[in-house]
């Protein structure tokens, strides 16, 4: 089976690419329906929030450091720090907390 691995990789890539490219290539005009437009407006925020919590709590060595990074990240983003700053400072919070623990 070992010699087939690249075939599997190709299959995984192919199906993932189709999923990613089909809506973008098939929907070529603005959707007029207000409900669908509103739905698509909310999708990014909801999906990012859903992916963040509670997954962040199991990303680090201990949920405590992740929880503190979560609170710090929410606060920093609220007060307008940039994407890069929030991202890096969250890492720093985890590193320092785990160093002290």
């Amino acid at each position: 089976m070992r010699h087939n691995v690249y075939l599997y990789i190709l299959g995984m890539w192919g199906v993932t690419y189709l999923i990613r490219v089909l809506p973008l290539t098939l929907i070529r005009r603005e959707i007029a329906n207000k409900t669908i437009r509103s739905f698509l407006f909310y999708v990014p925020y909801v999906t990012l929030a859903v992916m963040t919590f509670p997954a962040i709590l199991s990303a680090t060595q201990t949920p405590v450091s992740a929880a503190l990074a979560l609170v710090a990240g929410l606060a920093m983003a609220w007060f307008g720090l940039s994407l890069f700053q929030v991202s890096v400072l969250c890492c720093v919070v985890v590193f320092v907390v785990e160093l002290l623990m």
């Binding site: 070992r2 691995v5 599997y8 990789i9 299959g11 995984m12 890539w13 199906v15 993932t16 690419y17 999923i19 990613r20 490219v21 809506p23 973008l24 290539t25 929907i27 070529r28 409900t35 437009r37 509103s38 739905f39 698509l40 407006f41 909310y42 999708v43 990014p44 925020y45 909801v46 999906t47 990012l48 929030a49 859903v50 509670p54 997954a55 962040i56 990303a59 680090t60 060595q61 450091s65 979560l70 990240g73 929410l74 920093m76 983003a77 940039s82 994407l83 890069f84 700053q85 929030v86 991202s87 890096v88 400072l89 969250c90 890492c91 720093v92 919070v93 985890v94 590193f95 785990e98």
Partner: protein, 241 residues
């Protein structure tokens, strides 16, 4: 026109840096998983450079190791990655309706959670060169992290990997928090999303559902209720999504 492309590409390179760092950290774990599944460093790195999907790749590697058939792997891959259908649909409304097919086909290659999240957060129309810039730095991060995981996954200090792993979530927060501050409906949705996502993960009834499926079910149901209860009117949606 040319300078516009250049400007967006460079901005993409810059905003791709935190994605690259986060990807590097997260994909180390993926590389370790690939090694445990019996894949070589080359196979794992090629897979990461092409596929760029964390959960999807984990599932794929696990199934390959278990000796699953090609069809089984493809079906599971489709389920794990189905959320990209939603993201791609949202992007179809974010780009210029006149955007040529070749750009749409190229953009599709790099619809990941992070590149999607950052690209929908730009004001107004999305220029594909922004995505290309991000992909140009994020893809090597993902592929090299995987390679590192296969080759020396057990040598890197755990604390460093642990700290870097949280960077991607920091990025997500900096995307959904500022609009939540301005728009109370979005703020409410974030709180509801956190609560329901927690419930879905904590309650035993939903154990059988894969994490990719949970994301889709929650995203579709919460966004749909929000769309019906708080329809967005006029031009507003161009600015954020």
């Amino acid at each position: 026109m040319l300078t516009d492309r250049r400007k967006w590409f460079i901005k993409g390179l810059k905003d791709g840096v935190p994605i690259m760092l986060g990807y590097f950290a997260v994909s180390i774990a993926l590389g370790i998983a690939a090694k445990n599944a019996g894949m070589t460093a080359t196979q794992a790195t090629v897979a990461s450079a092409l596929i760029m999907a964390s959960a999807g790749q984990y599932i794929g590697f696990t199934l390959i190791a278990a000796g699953a058939s090609l069809v089984e792997v493809i079906v599971m891959e489709a389920i794990a990655n189905a959320r990209y259908l939603l993201m791609s649909t949202a992007l179809s409304q974010k780009v210029d309706p006149a955007l040529p097919l070749r750009h749409r086909m190229l953009m599709g290659l790099w619809i990941t959670d992070e590149i999607f999240g950052v690209s929908v957060s730009v004001k107004g129309r999305l220029n594909p060169y922004y995505n290309y810039g991000m992909a140009a730095v994020a893809t090597p991060g993902w592929a090299l992290g995987t390679l590192t995981g296969v080759v020396l996954g057990n040598v890197l200090p755990v604390r460093v990997v642990s700290a870097l792993s949280v960077g991607l979530y920091g990025m997500f927060m900096s995307i959904f928090v500022p609009p939540a501050r301005k728009n109370p409906v979005i703020a409410g949705l974030v709180i509801v999303s956190f609560a329901l996502s927690w419930a879905f993960n904590a309650l035993p009834w939903f154990e059988a559902i894969s994490s990719g499926m949970k994301i889709i079910i929650l995203t579709v149901s919460i966004s749909l209720v929000a769309a019906l209860a708080f329809p967005v009117d006029g031009k507003e949606d161009h600015h954020a999504a």
